[in-house]
């Protein structure tokens, strides 16, 4: 059991063009061994950017991301630590090399990292592909000849080939049919149990997050607005945006109005322009953070369901 976090970010920010609004601003989080963390947000929230920074795929413009205590910037290409965090992506079509068969794609990982010869690598790849449900006949097909679910399985096998401790899944099932989604989610669960894999699941779908994760972070406009245990947050949300998300899930009975507060400049709380509870305070003053002992927190001037335990003024 490792003490330090598998992956941690400290005040990271990512700005894509010098003057524009940052995609992610000041996010600090830690993911420990055995965790299943969900990152929930809509498009443009920055959740994919955050996921990629956590994986070390892109560099933050401010702050740092640490893997097992070391910053990604110091982890070289051949460092074994590079293997410990892997990622699977949303679009199964562009996540595989179109000119390589499934077997070749997975075998390449063994070839690059392993000591055995070519054949050992192929055998290991075969076994791994069988484990994720790709039979031998399908292994020699190219991505073009595979269904979305099959491609995603190959992608999963590829990321498992180097035996990572943490798998970051960026909307892995959003492009798939419901029944195929079920297959993939079940597969991820089985693999978690069988290999002790930790998981970060990025999704816009609350029901998927509820089903798969133990804790969840809610992201809006580049900031984490709420964090807590999945079971509690999704039943008793503290942040108005979380409440809005829950209300939007098909099946919820609550009517939501379309709130559009007119705000001239960039408000202090990013959600102020859409929040039914917003006041002048929300526009000008950074929302305070209310934390609870288990590590969950919410940043809001007018949180729901009275979460107060400890209060930290943000930045004070």
């Amino acid at each position: 059991m490792v003490d330090c976090a598998l992956v941690a970010s400290e005040g990271v920010e990512k700005r894509f063009r010098r003057s524009s609004r940052p995609a992610i601003s000041d996010v600090s989080l830690e993911v420990f061994h055995g965790a299943a963390v969900g990152i929930v947000g809509e498009s443009g929230s920055g959740k994919s950017t955050l996921a990629r920074m956590l994986a070390g795929a892109i560099e933050p413009t401010a702050g740092s991301v640490l893997v097992a205590g070391r910053p990604w910037a110091q982890v070289s290409r051949r460092d074994p630590l590079r293997k410990s965090v892997q990622m699977i992506f949303q679009d199964p079509y562009s996540s595989l090399n179109p000119s390589m068969t499934g077997l070749e794609t997975v075998a390449e990982v063994f070839h690059v990292w392993g000591e055995g010869n070519r054949n050992d690598g192929r055998d290991s790849a075969r076994r791994l592909l069988e484990e994720v449900g790709i039979s031998e006949r399908v292994q020699s097909r190219r991505p073009l000849e595979l269904s979305g679910g099959q491609r995603q399985r190959v992608a999963i096998a590829r990321s498992l080939a180097c035996e990572p401790s943490l798998l970051i899944a960026d909307e892995p099932t959003s492009s798939l049919d419901v029944s195929v989604q079920a297959n993939i989610l079940n597969l991820l669960r089985e693999l978690r149990e069988a290999r002790g894999l930790s998981l970060i699941l990025v999704s816009h779908d609350l029901s998927v997050v509820r089903h798969m994760t133990d804790e969840v972070l809610v992201i809006y406009s580049g900031k984490v607005v709420e964090r807590g245990a999945t079971s509690t947050i999704l039943d008793v949300p503290h942040h108005p945006y979380t409440q809005l998300l829950l209300n939007s899930v098909p099946g919820s009975k609550v009517e939501i109005g379309q709130v559009r507060n007119r705000i001239a400049m960039e408000p202090a709380c990013p959600f102020a322009s859409r929040c039914p509870r917003a006041t002048e305070e929300c526009v000008h003053i950074q929302p305070p953070r209310y934390s609870d002992p288990s590590g969950g927190y919410v940043e809001c001037h007018h949180p729901l369901n009275s979460p107060t335990i400890a209060v930290e003024q943000h930045g004070a």
């Binding site: 390449e108 006949r137 297959n183």
Partner: protein
Amino acid sequence: MSATTENPLGTDELSGTDEPTNSPVAKTRLLFRMVRYIRTLGFSATAGAVIVIGVLGCCVFVPMLSNQSVDAFGAKPLLHPSWRYLMGTDQFGRNVFLRVCDAGRIDLLIAAIGVLGSFAVGTLIGISVTAARRRVWETIAMRLVDSIIAFPFVVLVLTFVVIFSESSGLGPLPRGVPALLCAIFIYDWTIYARLARSRTLELREAEFVMAARLLGYSQRRIVLRHLLPNVSRTTASYAVGDIVLILTITVSLPFLGAGVQPPTPEWGQMMFEGQTFLVQAPWIVLGPALALALSGIGVTLLADTLINRSGRTRL
């Protein structure tokens, strides 16, 4: 009915017959699949292939098997095409058909080498500079490309002819050819570099490239194994059509006094020399013209199908 595999992970595949991929049965099946693939290429591609093979065959085998010499002044001059002299004879009594086939060797070879070299170098450079971590390489390469493209190709060739001076042949290459090949290489690689760059730009953002980086693959591996096969599909389709272009240019040069120099037989040279006899003995010009046209048509037919198909395998 077929049994579903009892796999708790829920495979997407139903179990079928599993066969080792190396057995003779499997190999025969592979052969049949290849034949079927060729047949699916369609009429135009097969026609193109037939024409190209025909032209190549003539160029390679006819001079080899003929008992006449290419430069022999043996026969009567300006004979009509006949069974003996398929394209008649020219003003010196030389067998036109034989000369056309022999000339074809040089013309087609220049086109093939020129395009192949440009394709290989251009594609590789285009991919490498676009995929490189440091943007400076990309800028240098692309500005170089821009400056070269600014030159009209013919001017470039003529410049090289002057530089190399008409007298040099390089090893097995006849006179005038090194200059021509130089000009082709220097000019043509830029087209491929640009094409490769635009395709690499698309692929660079594709997630499989990001995945490769996350897996700690070296830049070399990413360029050669992940980008090259996918980008070269695009540039290769262009290359096949480029052959026709280079061929046409090569054939036009003798009219300006450049290109492959006499006495090496060459289609353009033959047409140039045959101009004076256009009315009396048109076959002297028509022979090489027909060969040129057939080559062009055959290659274009092949190229069209390849381009259409490569579109389907794109991301």
